[in-house]
Amino acid sequence: MGHLARLRRDRSLLLMCLPMLALLVVFAYIPIAGNVVAWQNYSPFVGIRNSPFVGWSNFERVFADPSFWDAVRNTLTITAFQLVFFFPVPIALALLLNSVLNTRVRVAVQSIVYLPHFFSWVLVVSIFQQILGGAGLLNRLLAAAGFDGVDVITDPDAFLFLITSQAIWKDAGWGIIVFLAALAAVNPSLYEAAAVDGANRWRRMWHITLPALKPVIILLLILRLGDSLTVGFEQLILQRDAVGAGVAEVLDTFVYYRGVRNGDWSYAAAAGLVKGLVSMLLVLAANKVAHVFGEQGVYSRR
């Protein structure tokens, strides 16, 4: 069929794609092109068109800037910490819930633990401040019991613990959805056969349940690694002032403060572009690794 005939046949489909395409072009692709400011000395008063080009000097400044590397280090520290202390939580929760036989209890618990996923970060941080803050509920109860108070919110040493517990409170419950799905897909007769052969509940978990979860675990692990440079941006920017930039400055907040707050537009754009490109490479690499492991990965060719 010729182009014209196919065009005529599919014209309503194309028409339907038009609003989406228009928004993509304006708000995704034009800004991608707008990254040219990273090679300029951009000034808002003259605009992109008249700002002078300065070659790679912004990138050189970024790479020579110790505070940029501090932000990189903080970002990777948070990612690594959460990989160890956040990542396994939904798996454990899913195993626990899956072992609950009573449907009503299971459904009730699920509805409760999914809920915080739908709260905003402002809300979650507010709630934590009220509970764990200097004048919060925890300290009051501690004081009533005769203990010294702790202020988790403003203590830089406790910051990793704080943001990770917030992340767990908000998203660990939601995270169990995929694991429960994988668990529900296990054929019950496998368990029965294993039990008949004398495997107790722990051996059944080790030899049947965990292998059933393995593909999902690998997939999510790889996705998280690919996303290493992105840690909860809103969460961090909300708490950066309380705890200080020393531990709370990550790449995204670095770009925001340098660019939007300090007006060093070109420099911030260069830092943001480096982050975007490295992230993209990480995601693509992670996907490659997933394929090597025989998993489907994030995308696959049809």
């Binding site: 509920l137 959805i177 799905a181």
Partner: protein, 328 residues
């Protein structure tokens, strides 16, 4: 639910539905699992094990419920009860609606609620129209331009332009201090479109073919066959979009400088996190209402819409929605 079956192609090898309320039909293999009785081959757990499991479940649920409970209770408490408790109230004392009366009597918070409701309503409508049309437009493999358009959509999942160029664009479009700056840049989510598309593609092709033979065009097929068959997934996606708009905070701090146009999350931040007395929102003179009660009332107001929609949509959370989506 046939819906969740079809969407699940990317996931585990068997169709799964976490139709958690059991409201819809559940796949046969789950019916067996959802019986409360223990299979004969399974040994009875030890009392200690049972007790620990129960304790763990209670602690987990309490970690979510207790903070919400004390916040709601405090928002309804009088200054006297709050002073007696020394902060958040755990045991109900005297109750009052004063905090809500004060907050909703037409100050900054009232305006912020209206702004957020407006943005959420209009934004969700825009996003849904664009996404449903786009998802259907991309749902027929081999249609003209299909691969190129899909690719253009997928790229946005892997490479974001970055904050600075996006900010410069929004500002050069003159959208600073316009409500559209909170809607248009985030109106299209590739992820959500792929979920919808995956679902539309799973709909029985023979239905669509026979409609086409009967002379129906794509617009009619979408409106009269595809959409009515996709109510659950459409509801979930609409929830995702709506929650996104309702919760959006950073966008507003970036693009909205005019303090009279701030959405609720920004007001919540300055009011509760930064402890700022937003001018006009509190009648300082009367001093009747505890500021903690007022703060918690704002928190509750930010939660309520989520709590209202949640039960409606929650039963549709299909596991497959999450996994099936990521496949292109």
């Amino acid at each position: 639910m046939s819906a969740t079956r079809q969407i699940d192609r990317g996931g585990p090898d068997r169709p799964v539905s976490t139709d958690v309320n059991g409201a819809g039909p559940v796949p046969a293999d789950q019916v067996q699992r959802s019986r409360s009785s223990r299979p004969v081959w399974d040994e009875e757990p030890t009392p200690v094990g049972k007790g620990l499991k129960g304790l763990a479940l209670v602690i987990i649920c309490a970690a979510v419920v207790v903070p919400l409970y004390t916040i709601v209770l405090t928002s309804f408490s009088t200054q006297a009860s709050i002073t007696r408790a020394g902060g958040l109230v755990l045991v109900p004392g005297e109750l009052t609606l004063d905090a809500y009366r004060q907050v909703l009597s037409g100050g900054v918070v009232t305006r912020a609620v209206l702004v957020s409701v407006g943005i959420t309503t209009v934004g969700t409508a825009v996003s849904m129209v664009v996404s449903v049309l786009g998802a259907y437009g991309l749902s027929r493999t081999g249609s003209y331009g299909h691969r190129v358009i899909l690719f253009a959509l997928l790229i946005t999942m892997f490479f974001g332009a970055g904050m600075i160029p996006t900010y410069l664009l929004v500002s050069s479009l003159g959208l600073i201090d316009s409500y559209w700056s909170l809607i248009l840049p985030t109106a299209v989510s590739a992820f959500n479109i792929l979920i919808l598309r995956g679902f539309f593609m799973g709909i029985d092709g023979s239905l669509i073919d026979s409609a086409r033979i009967d002379g129906a065009g794509d617009w009619r097929i979408l409106a009269q066959i595809v959409l009515p068959m996709s109510k659950a997934v459409t509801a979930v996606i609409a929830l995702f979009y709506a929650v996104g708009y309702w919760n959006a905070f950073f966008q507003a701090t970036l693009y909205i400088n005019d303090s009279t146009k701030q959405p609720l999350q920004v007001v919540l931040r300055s009011f509760v996190l930064q402890g700022v007395d937003v001018p006009g929102s509190v009648d300082v003179g009367s001093g009747q209402v505890a500021s903690l009660a007022v703060q918690m009332a704002v928190v509750v107001i930010a939660i309520v819409p989520v709590l209202m929609v949640y039960p409606w949509v929650q039963r549709h959370f299909a596991s497959g929605v999450m996994i099936g989506a990521v496949k292109g």
